[in-house]
């Protein structure tokens, strides 16, 4: 097991109110896998500290606040190799006195970590996995979901496409499992918001490298052929989480049509170009500390650390159970630069959040769109709502 113990360097500045007593220590764990994601665009290649850097910035922000409350936050990173047991890693973090663990893990590994940590009172924050099942049939009372679900992302996109009246979709789906799951969410969204999928096509992953010296010549010919002879459509919607083909679609389709989904107009929890509602302050802090731009995973990790920070401000900070109860309670709200407070769905512990629609250069829109109403909160027009849930928290 590659194990890196990381103590985020913190220099407590001289502050008038720094009490004589030792500060309350609050330790968080960061559990992630060491697999590297392939991307089509060189610009999207994740850095080694993707996500982790967001958590570190959250720790720094919590410690700035902690100076005034005599609290000190620390982050311990644990990186799993392929054959490592996530359950053992969770127990190891609990052994080190950690009660809150951020997990950027695939669904099965996340559940193993949650089930192992439960006996030790660990509270997990799922910052990476978008799988519906983690919030539905496989939900857990000890897992809080900060990452949005595929259905929330798909609904956020579908509402905007409905607003644009681009109602006829050509759906192109990749051949990997995760692509199919995203396609399921897109089909559901089309049904909910009045879009029609005029045809579906599958883009088979036949292997091959994403980076070649003259691949562009072939792609320019392949994509028009692949997208020709489609029924009349307004927008091509792509489900390609595996990044095999979607980024090749814009400007290369047979018909001159916009692309959305996994490329073109992309629904996301965060984008480096987001600058509304004070977000530019967070973007600037992040760039200053890490010399790169902030990704959606970084934001999800930052949000999770801030959730713990909020509970430490407002509940007895040394008491992990009281902090957990505050996070799950009715008074919890997180400010996360999205124009409204983020709260938890109490039926499955999913963080409610607006969905940004990014084109890679700017934020085109933010869903929920005006006019999509809900009796409790418009944020619950995104994703599975209370009456539909299969989750029984325990």
């Amino acid at each position: 097991m590659i194990r890196i113990l990381l103590i985020v360097g913190l220099v407590l500045g001289a502050v008038s109110l720094a009490a004589a007593a030792d500060p309350v220590e609050i330790k968080l764990g960061y559990l992630h896998a060491s697999e590297r994601k392939e991307t089509i665009s060189l610009l999207d290649l994740p850095s080694a500290d993707n996500g982790l850097a967001g958590a570190r910035l959250g720790i720094e922000d919590n410690n700035t606040t902690g100076k005034f409350l005599n609290q000190h936050f620390e982050l311990l990173e644990e990186r799993l190799s392929k054959n490592d047991d996530p359950g053992a890693a969770a127990l190891d973090l609990a052994q080190k006195g950690i009660a809150f663990v951020l997990a950027d893990l695939p669904a099965d590994a996340l559940l193993k970590a949650a089930d192992a940590g439960r006996a030790r009172g660990l509270l997990l924050f799922n910052v990476g996995a978008t799988d519906e099942r983690l919030r539905e049939q496989d939900c857990r009372a000890d897992v809080i979901h900060v990452a949005p679900t595929r259905s929330m992302l798909a609904d956020g996109l579908a509402q905007y496409l409905a607003w644009k009246q681009w109602r006829r979709w050509l759906l192109v789906v990749g051949s990997h499992e995760s692509d199919k799951l995203f396609a399921d969410a897109l089909r559901r969204a089309a049904g909910r918001f009045g879009a029609k999928i005029v045809q579906e096509r599958v883009f088979e992953d036949t292997g091959g490298a994403r980076r070649t010296d003259s691949g562009i010549v072939q792609i320019q010919r392949q994509i028009p052929v692949f997208t020709q002879q489609a029924p009349a459509y307004d927008v091509l919607v792509a489900a390609d989480e595996s990044e095999v083909f979607a980024a090749y679609l814009p400007y290369r389709t047979w018909d001159a049509r916009p692309v959305a989904g996994s490329a073109g107009l992309v629904p996301t929890s965060w984008d480096a170009s987001h600058d509304q509602w004070g977000a530019v302050q967070l973007q600037n802090r992040f760039i200053k500390s890490f010399s790169r731009r902030m990704t959606a995973l970084d934001m999800q990790a930052w949000s999770a650390v801030r959730m713990v920070g909020e509970s430490a401000s407002r509940a007895p900070a040394g008491d992990a159970k009281a902090m957990e109860a505050f996070i799950k309670g009715p008074d919890f709200a997180l400010a996360a630069f999205k124009g409204r407070k983020l709260t938890l769905r109490d039926w499955n512990l999913q963080l409610r959040q607006p969905i940004l629609l990014a084109d890679g250069r700017t934020i085109v829109s933010v869903s929920p769109q005006e006019g999509f109403l809900h009796p409790v909160t418009e944020l619950d027009t995104l994703g599975y709502d209370r009456p539909e849930t299969k989750c029984r928290l325990q």
Binding site: S16, F68, R306, A335, G339
Partner: protein, 332 residues
């Protein structure tokens, strides 16, 4: 009552009677000058409060937000955050006459009672910068919480309150020692801090929390949390930002952002008495010096609403530049 000025009369002449009657209350105001910072337009709109119309537009730096008049009325200071400075507009000429070393990304600021010292919230480096206005130099800074924003000075000038948006606190700073003497936790994303004139209460708005905390400035405790409810609006749309309290402390006004309303709060009982419908995403407000009118900046609808303070009615809307943000009103 002062006689209406000639220019107004000539406007009134020829209008139908109903329109004349509607204009009447406005014609009796003493002419003041309002300055509105337009965040996206990179301009300051100048409003004549007698005509209740925009009379001039001044080009300023990138992203003007916080805007205040110097105590002597000689300059309007405007924080141009993306240029990392504060520009000084000469009120006589309407020209930019200089800049102040504000520190990075200045947003809101406050003067000490003498008008010689300026306190600036710098969002980007968690500090409050202290500037000597005569020397135009930076004389110190205070480390505060994450994303400092709101700035309120106690009437005696002894305590400066700064709110930090991600730390969610009101920091009480002793202006003599420049040390923090107390921190009061409020709800999420505190945006603005305003003392009553008699110093008996401090009001702090929480934009994301949706509340207004009334704080005892002596005990450093929240004594009351005011919540807002507007029929037909979701709770998330209610986002309190700007606060204005009448000199007698009897009436407070709270701008509710995307709720497009200004709440009228009783200064004694802290009950919400009324909600006034204004333009879209209302953020900051300023009284005319005679307190007859309260002007609000409505960012999304690019206008300023004029509230008749005695009648508690919105009496006029004035088109200004793009995304109006802050406002200050001069006696001249």
């Amino acid at each position: 009552m002062p006689t209406p000025v000639t220019s107004t009369r000539s406007i009134v002449r020829g209008l139908p009677l109903a329109a004349v009657l509607w204009l009447l209350p406005l014609t009796h105001a003493v002419a003041f000058t309002a300055y509105v910072s337009n965040e996206k337009g990179n301009t300051v709109t100048v409003i004549d409060t007698d005509k209740m119309a925009a009379v001039k537009t001044i080009k300023v730096g990138q992203r003007p937000r916080g805007i205040e008049l110097t105590k002597d009325g000689a300059f309007v200071l405007v924080a141009v955050g993306d240029d990392d400075t504060i520009q000084m507009i000469d009120t006589k000429t309407g020209e930019i006459a200089g800049t102040l070393p504000s520190g990075p990304d200045p947003e809101l600021f406050a003067f000490d009672p003498s008008g010689k010292i300026l306190y600036v919230a710098n969002e980007n480096d968690n500090t409050v910068t202290i500037i000597d206005l005569e020397q135009r130099t930076r004389v110190g800074d205070v480390q505060v919480g994450v994303e400092p924003e709101g700035m309120g000075l106690s009437p005696d000038g002894k305590i400066l309150v700064n709110t930090s948006e991600t730390t969610n606190m009101a920091h009480f700073i002793d202006t003599a020692t420049r040390q923090i003497v107390a921190n009061v936790l409020v709800d999420s994303r505190p945006r603005f801090a305003e003392f009553k004139r008699d110093g008996s209460e401090l009001w702090v708005s929480a934009e994301v929390g949706g509340t207004l905390s009334v704080i005892d400035p002596e005990k450093h405790q929240v004594t009351k949390k005011i919540r807002f409810e507007v029929a037909g609006l979701r709770q998330e749309a209610i986002q309190p930002v700007g606060i204005a309290i009448t000199k007698d402390g009897k009436t407070g006004f709270v701008a509710l952002g995307p709720a497009n309303r200004v709440a009228v709060v009783d200064g004694a009982s802290h009950e919400v008495k009324k909600y006034l419908l204004v333009g879209q995403r209302v953020w900051h407000m300023a009284f005319t010096p005679d307190e007859k009118y309260l002007l609000t900046t409505n960012g999304v609808s690019n206008d300023v609403s004029v509230i008749d303070v005695a009648a508690l009615k919105v009496v006029k809307t004035i088109q200004v530049g793009e995304l109006p943000w802050g406002i200050t009103i001069s006696r001249q």
